[in-house]
C-alpha cells in the first residue's frame, strides 16, 4: 500500500467568463441580467429561419484584452466555428465558438504555490463563444420553459494547462483570474449570476509516473465548491487506484449538498460536435496596430496598484495585498480615500467591519450595496466628531441594509453626537452621583472604574456622547 503522499494531483480548468459588453455577441440585444424571460431576444438569437450573425467587435476587443493580460500571444488570423448539438436552450442547434484557431494562445497566470513560491499556471488558449439560453422548470405544467435572454451573451473560455496541483492552488488561480478580468473590466465575474463558471479536470498519479485518466466536473459556479470537488475527487481516485480499479474518462456533476460527484446521465461521452468553420461569418483578421493599441490602453493591473499603495499611502504589503485582492475593494479605497483624504480609515473599514459583514452575508466585495462616496462621508462624519465610531458601525449596518447618505441616516435615527459641553457635564455629574463606589475605586487606583463610568454615560446618552469630551470631563472631575 502506498500512502496519499505518494500521489500527485493534477488539475486543469476551463473557465467560462461572461463578457460585460452591452449587447450580445451576434446581435444587438441587451445582455442585461435578470430581465423578464424572452424580452431580450430577436430573430438572430432565437434562430429564426434566414437570420444571420454579425460579430460584435467589442467581444473581440475584450477577448484580446483578456489574452494580453494573461500573457497570451494574440492570433492575427482567427475564425469562428460551429459546434453542433441539440438542446432546447441552443436555438440554432449549434453554438458559434472557436475550434482550431482561437484568438489567444499560450499565456500564463502567476500564482503562489502551497509553499509560498511563485508559480506559473500556463494558459493553453482563450476563445470567444456564445452562451446558451436557460431552461426553467414550469411549476404549473411540469414541463420546461425556454428563456433565450442569455442565448448569445458573449463568453470567453480560458483553458489552462494541467499545471495546478492542489485545491488551494486551484482556488488561488481562479481568484487571480477573476481579479484580472475585473481589473481589465471585461467581465463582472458575478458568480451568483453565473457570469463565471468552470469545468474542472482532475486526475491523480503516483509521483514519477505518467498522468492518470481525468474526470471532468462540469459547470461549477462557486470557488468553494470547486475546492471541495477537487478534494473529493482526489480522495476518491486515490482510493480507486489503491484498490486496483482502472479510472476511465468520465463527465461528472458536483452535488454540493451531498458533497460528492456523480456521473452525468444522458451526456454521451462520445458526443460528436461535428465542428466546422462558420460559413456565415468572415475570418477575424487583426492588425498589429489594433493589438498594440489595446495593449497600450490596458488599465492599471493589481501588481502596480499594490506598489502604489505601499509607496503613496504607506500601507504594508499585507494591507495592500488585501485591497488589490478585489477590484471592488481597491476601487472603493481609491475613490473614498480621494474624497475624505483619510486613506488609513477607509482601509480599516474595508479590512475589518466591511469584510466581516460581507463574510456574514456570504457576499462578494462587488456586492457591496453602497457607494465609495457613502463610505467617505462616514469617515468624515467620524473625523469631524459628528458621530462616534461606535455610531459609525451602526451607520455601516444601515448602509448594508438600506444604502443612503450617512448624514441622512444619522439625522433620521437621531444619532448625532453630543458635543455640547454643558450637556455632557450634566450627564457626567449624574453618573458620578449615582456611582460613588466607582469614584472610590478610581481614587484607589483602579483605572477600570473610569471605563465603567464612561460606559454608564454612553448608556445614558444612547452612545451619542462625544467620547473624547466624556473622558476628559470625567478625569477632570475625578481629579478634583
Amino acid at each position: 500500500m502506498s500512502s496519499k503522499e505518494d500521489y500527485e494531483l493534477v488539475v486543469g480548468l476551463e473557465v467560462h467568463a461572461e463578457l460585460s459588453t452591452k449587447t450580445k455577441i451576434f446581435c444587438s440585444c441587451s445582455t442585461e441580467f435578470g430581465a423578464e424571460p424572452n424580452t431580450h431576444i430577436c430573430p438572430i438569437c432565437t434562430a429564426m429561419p434566414g437570420a444571420l450573425p454579425v460579430l460584435n467587435e467589442k467581444v473581440v476587443e475584450y477577448a484580446v484584452k483578456a489574452g494580453l493580460s494573461t500573457n497570451c500571444s494574440i492570433s492575427k488570423d482567427s475564425k469562428n466555428d460551429r459546434k453542433n448539438y441539440f438542446y432546447p436552450d441552443l436555438p440554432k442547434s449549434y453554438q458559434i465558438s472557436q475550434f482550431d484557431k482561437p484568438l489567444c494562445n499560450n499565456g500564463y497566470v502567476e500564482i503562489e504555490d502551497d509553499f509560498g513560491n511563485s508559480k506559473k499556471v500556463r494558459i493553453l488558449r482563450i476563445h470567444i463563444e456564445e452562451d446558451a439560453g436557460k431552461l426553467n422548470h414550469n411549476e404549473y405544467s411540469g414541463g420546461s420553459l425556454v428563456d433565450l435572454n442569455r442565448a448569445g451573451v458573449p463568453l470567453i473560455e480560458i483553458v489552462s494547462e494541467p499545471d495546478i496541483n492542489s485545491s488551494d492552488e486551484a482556488d488561488r488561480y481562479l481568484k487571480k483570474l477573476k481579479s484580472i478580468l475585473q481589473y481589465i473590466d471585461v467581465s463582472d465575474c458575478k458568480m451568483q449570476e453565473g457570469s463565471l463558471r468552470a469545468d474542472v479536470n482532475v486526475s491523480v498519479h503516483k509521483k514519477g509516473e505518467p498522468f492518470g485518466t481525468r474526470h471532468e466536473i462540469k459547470n461549477m459556479n462557486s470557488f468553494k465548491s470547486i475546492q471541495r470537488a477537487i478534494d473529493y475527487e482526489k480522495e476518491k481516485q486515490i482510493i480507486d487506484v489503491e484498490n486496483g480499479k482502472t479510472i476511465t474518462q468520465e463527465t461528472l456533476r458536483w452535488d454540493d449538498f451531498e458533497g460528492q460527484t456523480s456521473e452525468m446521465r444522458d451526456k454521451e461521452d462520445a458526443q460528436d460536435y461535428r465542428y466546422f468553420p462558420e460559413p456565415d461569418l468572415v475570418a477575424i483578421r487583426l492588425s498589429d496596430e489594433y493589438i498594440e493599441d489595446i495593449k497600450n490602453n490596458l488599465p492599471e493591473m493589481p501588481e502596480s496598484r499594490k506598489e502604489r499603495y505601499i509607496k503613496e499611502f504607506k500601507l504594508t504589503e499585507k494591507e495592500a495585498n488585501f485591497l488589490v485582492s478585489s477590484k471592488a475593494f481597491s476601487d472603493i479605497f481609491e475613490k473614498a480615500g480621494e474624497i475624505c483624504k483619510n486613506y488609513k480609515a477607509v482601509f480599516n473599514w474595508l479590512n475589518s467591519d466591511i469584510s466581516r459583514i460581507l463574510n456574514e452575508k456570504e457576499f462578494e466585495p462587488e456586492q457591496i450595496p453602497f457607494s465609495a462616496e457613502n463610505l467617505a462621508e462616514l469617515v468624515t462624519l467620524i473625523d469631524n466628531g459628528t458621530i462616534s465610531s461606535s455610531i459609525g458601525k451602526k451607520v455601516l449596518d444601515e448602509l448594508f441594509e438600506n444604502p443612503r447618505e450617512p448624514k441622512k441616516i444619522i439625522e433620521e435615527k437621531g444619532w448625532i453626537q453630543i458635543s455640547d459641553e454643558s450637556a455632557i457635564k450634566e450627564v457626567v455629574m449624574k453618573v458620578l452621583q449615582n456611582n460613588p463606589q466607582s469614584i472610590a475605586d478610581f481614587k484607589a487606583g483602579k483605572d477600570k472604574a473610569l471605563a465603567f463610568l464612561i460606559g454608564q454615560a454612553m448608556k445614558e446618552t444612547k452612545g451619542k456622547a462625544n467620547p473624547k469630551m466624556l473622558t476628559d470631563m470625567f478625569l477632570a472631575e475625578l481629579k478634583k
Binding site: M48, G50, P88, S93, F276, P279
Partner: protein
Amino acid sequence: MNITELTVHELQEKIKNKELTSEQITKAYIDRINEKENDVAAFVTICNDSLEQSKKIDEELNKENNIADGSLKGIPIGIKDNICTKGIKTTCSSKMLENFISPYDATVIEKIKSEQMPILGKLNMDEFAMGSSTENSAIKITHNPWNLNKVPGGSSGGSAAAVAANMVPWALGSDTGGSIREPASFCGVVGLKLTYGLVSRYGLVAFASSLDQIGPITKDVEDSAILLNVIAGHDEKDTTSYDRPKIDYTKSLKNDVKGLKIGVPKEFFGEGISEDVKAKLKESIEVYKSLGAEVEECSLGAVEYALATYYIIACAEASSNLGRFDGIRYGYRAKEFSDLKELYVNSRTEGFGDEVKRRIILGTYVLSSGYYDAYYKKAQKVRTYVKKQFDENFKKYDVLLTPVAPTTAFDIGQKKENPLEMYLADVCTVSINIASVPAISIPCGVGKDGMPIGMQLIGDRFSEEKLLNAAYTFEQKIKFRENYKPGFNK
C-alpha cells in the same frame, strides 16, 4: 395589349406614360394566376391584397406629374418561398414550416418594399431548395408551362414556371448549385446567379450558407439588370456581403460583343450531355462568332470533381443549418412524444421530406469525427482548386460558355426515385457556386421535344456587367421570346 406578355421594362414605360396603372397590371396578373394556377401550380401562397396595395400606389402615382426614370413603383413581383416575408407565410415548401410566418423581412424584401413593388405571392420550390425538379415540394408539384407533363426544374421551379407562364412579371429565386439557372433553362426564361456576396442573404432560409445566393428570374436580360439594381449591395446584417460601389447594370447592355473573348470548356460537352443540347450550343457559338466575338475551346478539368465537392459541402452546411427546425420554438412539432429525444426525432422525421433527410444524413456523416478529413476537409481543398482553375481561365477569357443542364426538362416522376440521376442534372451548374462566380442562363432555342434549351455564360467574380452584355447581345440577335412561346400542352 396583353399586359402579362410585357416585360418589366415595357411596363415601366407604360406606367411612366400613364398608359397603364399599377392596379391594371396587378389585376391582370391576379387574373392570369387564377387562370393558370390549376395547370401550373406555381404558387404556395397567392397574395390577393397586392391589388389593394396597387390601388394605393396608384393614388401616389396619379399625383406625380413626372414619374422618375427607372421607377418600379407599382410593378408586382413573385418571391421564392424560402425568402422571409413579414406577415406572409414562408414555408420553404416544407411540412416543417407549413404555417410559419416570419417576424421579419429579408433584406431583399425590404428593398423591394422600398421600391413599392407589390408581392403577388410566394412561389413553390423543392423543399428547403434541395432538388432539381420542384418535385421535392411538400406542398404541390409544379408543372412546366411548355409541357405540363414535364418538370419546371428546381429548386426555384415555381419562380421560373410563373415567369414563363406570365403569372408574374418577374421573380426572385435562389441558387445554391443551379437552382435559378436550371429551372430558367427548363422554362425558357432568364436566370441570373450572382457573384457570392453581391446580394445580402439575410432572410434567405439557409440551405448551404457558403453557396446560397438570391437572384432574378426574368423574361429577358434587361429585366435581370433592372432587378439586380434593386437587390445588389452590401448589407451590414450579412457580413459575407461585399461593400462595393453602386453600379447601374442596365448601362452595361451595349448590344455589342465585338472582341469579346469567349472560352468553351470542353469538359462541359462530354458524355451525358444530350445531342440536342450540344447542337443548340454549337449554333449559339456560331451566333457569337457572327457577332464578332472570339470563341475558342478551353479546359476546366477540375469540374470533374465539382459535383462530389458540391454535395459534400452543401450537405455538411445543410445538416447544421437545418438543425434549428427542432419543433421547439416554431414550425412543425410531432403530436406524439414521451421525452425530449422523441420530440426531436418525431418532429424531424415527420416534418422533413426524404430528400432533406437524405442530405442531412450525408452532411452529418461527412462532418463526423473520423470522416471529416476525408470528406469535408478534402472538399474544401478541391474547392480552392476549382476556384484556381476558373481564375486561370478568366485571365484569358471574358466569359465561358456552357450548357445549363444536360437535357431539356424531363418528365414528372422520371427521376424522382433515383436521387443520383437527379443530382446529375446539376453537373453543369454546381462548379459555378463552388467557385463563387456569377453565371446567367438564357434560352438559346428549343429541342426536338419542343422544350427550351438554356445556354450558360459564366463570368469572373463581380463581372456581372460583362455577363449581362454578352447575354443581352445574344438575346437581341436570336429573339427567342418572339419566336417561341410556352404552349401549356398536356
